[in-house]
Each structure stands twice: as C-alpha cells, then as structure tokens.
C-alpha cells in the first residue's frame, strides 16, 4: 500500500500548509450557510480516541466508496478521530474538492480547484500525470448537510473566531439539543470572543425556550429580544402561538413585535438597494446611448448588440486566462471598451455618417446592423449561451445583519455604474475631446469654422458611446446570460431611460435610471414582476405626454428640433 508509509517529518510541515489552505476554504464553506433544520447527526466526540494510522487510512478510503448513507456513517466515524487531518478532508468532501481513484485501494486527493492536487493522507503533492484518473467523490444534498453539521462541531474549537461563530450559528440553525448544548457549554468556558459568546448565549436561550418552567422561558425570551436571527424568530413565533402559559405568550409576542419593527426598517433599506441596483444596470446600459442618441441624435438600435460584444469579450478573456478569473475583469473592461468602440467607429464610418440629420433612417439602418451582429454572434459563438464565471470576490454577499445583506456583484456593479457615469461626465466636461463633442453637437458649422474636424469628432463620439456599451456588457455578463439575445433584452429599457431622463442630459439619464429602478422595485411586491413592468411602461408613456422632453429637457438653441 503505497500511501501507508507516511513520512512523518515532512508530513508535519505540509500539514501546516494544508491546514492554512483548508482553513481559508472552510471559512468560505461556513460563509455559505444560512438556516433551516437539517437532520442532525449525533457527532459529539466526548472523548478523544487514540488514532492509529491504519484506521484513519481505511476510513478515508472508505469515505470515497459505497453508498451515500454508508459514506455518511464513515464520515461520522472519521469525525470522532482526534486527528488534525480530519477537518481538511471532510471540508474538502463537503466542498466537492475531494478526489479519488476508482479502485479497491484508491488514491485520495484534495484539489485546490486550480488543477493542483495533494494527497489527502500525507499531504504530498500529486504530479499532474498521476492526477489523471482522479474523479471527484460524488456527494448529494443530504450528505452535504450532514457533513456541514459535523464540521460545525469540529470547527467549534478552531483558532479563528469567524469560523467558530459560524460553527455556533450552524448549530443553532440545525436545532439545539442536549448534545450541542454540552459542547457549547464546554466551549463557553474558554471562549474569548464576544460575538461567539453572544451566539452561544442565544443558543442557550433557545434551548431554555423549551424548558418546562415558565419563568425560565420568560427569561429566555428576555435574552432573545431584539435578535434578528431567523431561528429566534420562528422559535418565538411558535411560543407566541402555542405556549400553554398566557404570560409567556404575551412576552413572546412583545419580543416578536419589537423584532418585526426593526426588520421592516431593514426591508425598506433592502428594497431601496434593490431599486438602485436595478437602476445601476439600467444606467450602464443607457449611458452609452445617451451619448449617441442624446448628443449626436443617432438612434442606435445596435446599442444592445454592442453590449453583447462586450459580454462576449469578457468570455473570451476568461477563456484566454482560465486560471486568472479573479483578474479577468480588469482585462475585460478595457478590452471590451476597445473592441466595442472599434465596432462602433466602423458602424459610424460605414453607415451612420451618410445619415446625419435623418434620425428615423439611422433607426432602420442600425436595426439592420443589430440583426447582422446577432446572427454573426450565432455563427461565431454558436446559438448556445456562454458560461462567464463569477470571480470569487464578486460572489457572495455583504452580511450587515441576519435580515439585511447586499450581494457583492450588485454592489460592485452599482459602484462601477457610478464610476463610469462620473468618468464620462469628466470626459465631456474636462477634456478637449469633450469640448469638441459639445461644440459639434451645439453648432456644427461654427465648430468646423474654428477648426474642429467634425467628422473625426463624430467618429470618436460614436466610438466612445459604443465603448461604454461594451463596458456595460462586461457588467451584464456578471448578472445574466451571455448569448446572442443579450442585447435585445435591454434595448427598449435603455431607450426608455434616455427619453425619460431627457435627451442629451447625462444627469437626466442618471436620475431616470435610478428612478425607474426604484419605481419598478416598489411596484413589484404589489403587482408582481410582469405587471410591474407593464405599469412602468404605461407610466412612462403618460409621463412623456406630460413632459415630452423628459425630466431635464434641453434648453436653448440646441433644443430646437
């Protein structure tokens, strides 16, 4: 048995490496947890068992074979072994990064998801040639949640407070019982971190809610007052509805009411954020249009397809650097700007320059271009959608408290939208190109007379608008499908935003986008997603009748039709 001769000297060094790797992995694992009960398995390792190397090896190998329930049993047994290698292995299994050969005596390996494997038993690096026959150890939901519970009890004594906090919260979510309380009591004695101690107190209080004595229950309710955790709420709700003691019932109801008050305030915040986030997507997709349409008077129906190009660029960049997903966006943004910008300039030089002053004709011609670009995408990239990966730092959410969390990708896109907006504003207001753009759009003949190359400015302006559409495509690739139909989904909304905000006014576009986003999100809970969209469109049509030039109409000569 080739794995059974661990080199103990080297092993310890690598263990540290492994541990640190897995700790970070387990932080992520624990991060990804929320609520609800799961069949808790009895996992209390009341006393440390003496580990013998053969037993450990056999168990680890058994972990990769046989039926799922059997393997769950094995994992439980493994958890009872007092061995530092256990946690990384179980974490890897739970994460789906445990690999094994298909054989009687398999090689078991942990992957770092970047193509590197280390032997799970001795921590040795496995060369790529040997990694070939490794297959991921399959695992299903039931087992995943069992392992999660198991890991919680194992991680309770982790060095990092965050990991311990998650472990306690996990235990609460799985439902507290005698065994977990015993474990937690043990932990509480030595726990230095206040957050973890608070969580443990909550767990005790939840346990006490089940007590026979009414006074104990009332005390527990007092402890739980103001807590935003879901488990607390559902436990209190249960008491408030079903408790035998009327006084306890009342107390629970009071506690619940105070919690609900806090929650409704957070929900409002959440809804506003949802609205702003939708608004930022609208802003990104409309802002390029507000240049080409607002400043140049060109109705660019191919705008959506320029976004599509940006999204495809993101995909191509990820294909070129498959191991650098985290940084791929940094490359994708400028590339998308350049590619979409160049396509835009080509469209301007090839078609649009013959149609200046005939906005309705530009509409038809660019619509034709949009059809061609769509079909080109279908021919080049196939009609299937392409999978753009979300970098690690874009996934997950910023947890402010148990009822309010903001997803990172939405947050970054919101910030990104504002950055693009202000950058564009700065370009138009502070740079010489911006000056020329404004000059040409206000008075073409005069601008030419003072030496501005109007046709060059036209091409650059259109390129700028198109490039921004490309950047918007990068952002959209992080939210939705990357496929030939991407552009069509946004084009009508983008036009609505520009018209609503007022043509030729960047601030109008900002206000319009955010306004529409928030209105939509506030209508949605009452009207449903479909009707909300219809209502927004109807409101918009009515608004345009009232103010045909949008919220911020252009003033002065340029406004004359």
């Amino acid at each position: 048995m080739r794995n059974q001769t661990p080199l103990f000297g080297r092993w310890q060094v690598q263990l540290i490496l492994l541990l640190s790797l897995c700790c970070s992995a387990s932080v992520f694992a624990q991060d990804a947890e929320i609520s609800t009960t799961a069949a808790a398995i009895d996992t209390a390792p009341t006393e440390a068992l003496a580990t013998t190397a053969p037993e450990f090896d056999t168990l680890v190998k058994a972990l990769t074979q046989g039926s799922l329930p059997k393997r769950a049993q094995t994992a439980k047994k493994l958890g009872q072994l007092d061995d530092p290698r256990v946690i990384p292995i179980i974490t890897a299994l739970q994460q789906g990064s445990l690999y094994a050969e298909k054989s009687v005596d398999p090689l078991v390996a942990i992957s770092d998801n970047a193509g590197n494997y280390v032997n799970a038993l001795n921590g040795e690096k496995i060369p790529a040639t040997q990694a070939e026959p490794l297959k991921r150890v399959p695992i299903n939901n039931t087992m995943r949640s069992q392992l999660r519970t198991l890991l919680a009890s194992l991680n309770l004594n982790d060095k990092k407070p965050a990991v311990r906090l998650n472990a306690v919260n996990r235990m609460i979510a799985d439902g507290v019982d005698e065994d977990t309380i015993a474990l937690l009591q043990e932990r509480q004695k030595t726990e230095p971190n206040e957050d973890v101690r608070d969580a443990i107190t909550t767990a005790f209080a939840l346990m006490n809610l089940q007590s026979e004595k009414a006074s104990v229950r009332i005390d527990a309710i007092a402890v739980l007052r103001g807590s935003l955790q879901q488990e607390v709420r559902s436990a209190l709700l249960d008491i408030a509805n079903n408790d035998s003691d009327i006084k306890v019932k009342q107390q629970a109801q009071f506690a619940l009411d105070s919690i609900e008050d806090r929650i409704s305030a957070f929900r409002l915040t959440e809804n506003i954020f949802f609205g702003l986030s939708l608004g930022s997507v609208l802003l990104l997709s409309a802002i390029g249009l507000s240049i080409t349409f607002g400043v140049m008077g060109v109705i660019n129906m191919a705008h959506g397809e320029l976004m599509m190009i940006g999204a495809y660029v993101t995909w191509v960049v990820q294909q070129l650097f498959p191991n650098q997903i985290a940084y791929s966006l940094m490359i994708a943004i400028p590339s998308a700007f350049i590619v979409a910008g160049l396509v835009g300039i080509a469209i301007e030089r090839g078609v649009i320059r013959f149609l200046y002053g005939r906005p309705l004709e530009t509409l038809l011609a660019t619509f034709g271009i949009s059809l061609i670009l769509q079909q080109a995408a279908r021919s080049i990239f196939s009609p299937l959608n392409r999978a753009v990966e979300l970098p690690e730092w874009m996934s997950g959410s910023l947890v402010i408290n148990p009822v309010l969390s903001i997803t990172y990708n939405r947050l970054y896109i919101f910030i990104f939208g504002l950055i693009v907006f202000f950058a564009l504003l700065a370009i138009l207001k502070k740079t010489s190109l911006g000056l020329k753009v404004r000059a040409v759009s206000q008075n073409r003949a005069m601008a030419r007379a003072v030496g501005v190359r109007a046709s060059w400015v036209d091409a650059m302006t259109f390129g700028l608008g198109s490039g921004i559409a490309g950047i918007a495509g990068v952002a959209l690739s992080q939210l939705t499908n990357v496929g030939p139909n991407l552009g069509q989904a946004y084009i009508i909304d983008s036009f609505m935003v520009v018209v609503f905000g007022g043509v030729g006014n960047l601030w109008g576009t900002l206000v319009g986008a955010m306004g529409l986003g928030i209105i939509n999100k506030f209508l949605e809970p009452y009207a449903g997603a479909v009707l909300a969209k219809v209502l927004v469109l109807v409101l918009l049509i009515l608004f345009i009748q009232k103010r045909p030039k949008g919220i911020f109409p252009q003033k002065g000569r340029a406004a004359a039709d």
Partner: protein, 432 residues
C-alpha cells in the same frame, strides 16, 4: 414606353413565381422525406438547433443501416425562425410541397399549438420531443417528451419523502407550461395535506433578469422553520440570473433546494455551475447515465457534431426514441402512409438511453423512467432517485378539474378526449 418596360419586369416576376410554384409539385419518389421543424434563428434557436442536428445524425445513421423500406431517408430542414405562425406555414409547406412522411419538431407549446390544426387537417405525423403541460392528445401527434406525471409529480414526491420538504415555492415563467404544471402540483400538494399558506406561487416574465426581491422573498418564505424547496418551471434565459442571485444571496441547495424542469445539460453548459451545485432537476434521461446504449449515443453525437465538449440532453433522447419507434412502425406497416403508421406504432417498443425499453401507448405518449439528479460542478447530473420501472405518460392530468374525467385511447376508443363520466368523445378531436 415605360409601361411596357414595367410590364416586362412584371412578366419576369410572374414567370419566376410560376416556376417556383411548379417546382413545389415536383417531389422525388426514390427517397422517404423526413421533415425537421426546429427554429434555427430567433430566440428558440438556442435550444432547437441541437435537435435539428440530432435528427440529421439519426437519419444519417439509419441510411448507413440501409435506409427504410429499401429507400434512403432524406431530411428536409426548414427554419420557422421562432415565429409561431411561421411554424404553421412551414408545416403546410413540408406536408404539401415536400410531402414528408413524418415531421420531427417544435419545442415550445405555442409552436405545437400552432402546428396542430395544420397537421390534423393534412393528416401528417408529428413527433414532439419536449416535456410539456399535457392536456392534449391528437391522433397525428406523438408526444415523446414527458407529461407532467412523468416529471413534475415524481420530483415533488422525492422532495416530500426523501428531503422532508414541508413548504413549497412554485416559481415559473408566465406561460402555459408553468401555469398548468403549477396548477397540477398545487392540487397534488393540497391532496397530500399541504396547507395553502405553505405554498407560494410566483410568476415572472420571459427572460426576467432581476431576481433580487424574488429570491429575497423565497429566503424569507423559507425561514419559517419548515424545510422549504423551490419547484422551478423557469424558462431558459431567466435561469442564469436566477441561480446567480440564489448563490449570491447564499441560498444553498442544502437549505432550500431548487428542483428545475427546464434545466438540462445543454443549458448548464452555458452557465457557471458553481452556484448551482446540489440543486436538482427532474428528467427522463441524464447524460451521466451509465449504460452501453448511452455511451454509444454520446460517442456518435460527439463524432457527428465534431466537438468533444458537446453534451446530450433529454429532448435529444426523446427524438432518439421517437425516431426509432417511427422506423419500426413504418417497417411493421410496410408503408409510410399516415393512417397505417399511426395504427402500427401503438405498442411498439424502442430502447431508451437509460437502459430500458420505452413503449408507445394508445394515448400517443410513451413510457419513461423518471430520474432526479443533483447538478454537479462539471454540468452533469448525479442521479439521486429513480422511479421503479417506467412511468406511462398521462395525457390528461388527474389533478385538474376539467381533465380528470378525460381519457385518451386511439385504439379502443378512437378518441383523444373521451369523457369517462358522460361516456362521450368530446369535441372535434373525435375524428373518424
């Protein structure tokens, strides 16, 4: 002078028209034509192009085996361009101009509904390969995809029994398939004792991309202390943003599993699967099925499409079964004549790709195994549950008010919607 010139042009146009009309009637008699009616452009191209290729592969394969009735098969591919009236027009074209022996095609329910009157009028044969809402049984259509009792109900059973789910979110795109499926599921769940307040139903428009508050609602709905699951009939493009939002709002499969009826291997190949791992799907076939027939099919497909990364999926298997059934029926009948084939095909068995034999039933649906799978990171499914034996497709759901008394049997009753209470064959479907 000028009038003459115009007249000349017009004349040329007329001749061109005449020629094309004349060419319509010239049909070669030495091949058997098979119509392939799948959108190759427009919004549905994403799903349907693959099925067109599947049909071309199957026809090529059959020709290698020596064709059918001593003749070669010839595929007639048309593009209805995701445009529903165009589906009807193309069907008419296939049946009257090309005189195809059978049509394999359609994906969406609306395209099938659009084709239906034409195919009945001209007495053609259509094989429809996609899971659908049921509530239909036409003499001229064979439904090789799953009826609701072959997909939705076993999936819910699995969640109820194995995962102990007590609270249900029925989320779907607002069109007929989700509406009907959810109606059936709602009735089914209530019959199983689920309270009304434990069922949340939500509809979204096609291509919905902003799922923030819906996911947040689902999360809230799932935090009531009872195990919650989402039954998703969300269509195509809306799935990516939906699963991304789930992942980002940290709704994991262990907490709130999502079981989808429209997410298969092909859809997954265009999705970053990380946030989906552990979520479920119910189908009658998974590419990961381990048996020789499936391995051969996958190998053949990859060789045909010349791409080692392409995946196979459930509707492809449905075409595989349907095509083989049709071939056997034509051989049995000794002709491609619709009336004879329609009679001959009932009871015909053809191998499916999960290692069994599917059988064509008198109600024009087939028997299929139902598989529940968990999505893995590589975009494949890990089968976690499988029905014992094959489930016969039921055209009329037993859980809907209007259809529970209806029965379809084209052999004994010669009727697609026979009312067992009034003992009458309803409507015009009682042809013959």
């Amino acid at each position: 002078m000028k009038l003459k010139k115009i007249a000349k042009h017009v004349g040329a146009l007329g001749i061109a028209c005449g020629l094309s009309i004349a060419s319509f009637s010239a049909a070669a008699a030495d091949t058997i034509k098979v119509g392939v009616l799948h959108s190759l452009s427009g919004t549905m191209a994403i799903s349907e192009t693959t099925l067109k290729d599947t049909m071309l592969m199957l026809i090529e394969e059959q020709n290698k085996k020596g064709g059918l009735l001593g003749k070669k098969l010839e595929a007639v591919v048309v593009d209805p361009a995701s445009n529903w009236p165009l589906f009807a027009e193309k069907t008419r074209e296939l049946l009257t101009k090309d005189k195809v022996a059978a049509i394999f095609g359609c994906w969406t329910s609306v395209s099938r509904k659009s084709v239906l009157p034409v195919i009945e009028e001209l007495n053609g044969v259509l094989f429809y390969p996609v899971q659908y809402e049921g509530e239909e049984s036409s003499r001229n259509v064979f439904y090789t995809g799953a009826a609701p009792n072959q997909q939705a109900i076993p999936a819910v059973d699995y969640l109820m029994k194995d995962m102990k789910v007590k609270r249900w979110v029925l989320a779907g795109t607002d069109y007929v398939y989700p509406r009907t499926t959810n109606k059936i599921l709602e009735a089914y769940l209530m019959a199983k004792g689920v309270a009304k307040e434990d069922i949340m139903i939500n509809y979204t428009p096609f291509g919905h991309s902003d799922w923030q508050n819906i996911v947040s609602d689902i999360k809230r709905f799932g935090s009531a202390g009872k195990k919650t699951a989402v039954v998703s009939t969300i269509n195509g493009d809306a799935n990516v943003p939906f699963y991304r939002e789930l992942g980002n709002q940290k709704v994991t499969a262990e907490d709130i599993p999502v079981v989808a009826f429209s997410v298969g291997e092909e859809e997954l190949s265009g999705i970053d699967t990380k946030p989906l791992v552990g979520h479920l799907a119910a189908w009658n076939y998974f590419m990961s099925e381990d048996n020789p027939a499936n391995a051969a099919f996958i190998k053949q497909w990859k060789a045909f499409i010349k791409n080692d990364k392409r995946v196979t999926n459930d509707p492809m298997e449905a075409h595989y079964i349907g095509f083989n059934m049709w071939v056997k029926a034509v051989e049995k009948a000794g002709t491609t004549d619709t009336d004879k084939v329609v009679d001959a095909i009932i009871g015909i068995e053809a191998p499916n790709l999960t290692g069994g034999m599917s059988k064509m039933l008198p109600n024009h649906h087939i028997t299929k195994p139902v598989l529940i799978g968990e999505i893995q990171e590589d975009g494949q499914f890990l089968t976690v549950s499988q029905t014992d034996g094959l489930v016969p497709g039921d055209a009329w759901s037993d859980f809907l008010e209007g259809s529970k008394d209806l029965e379809s049997d084209w052999i004994k009753l010669k009727c697609g919607n026979y009312n067992t209470k009034t003992k009458k064959c309803l409507g015009a479907a009682a042809a013959q």
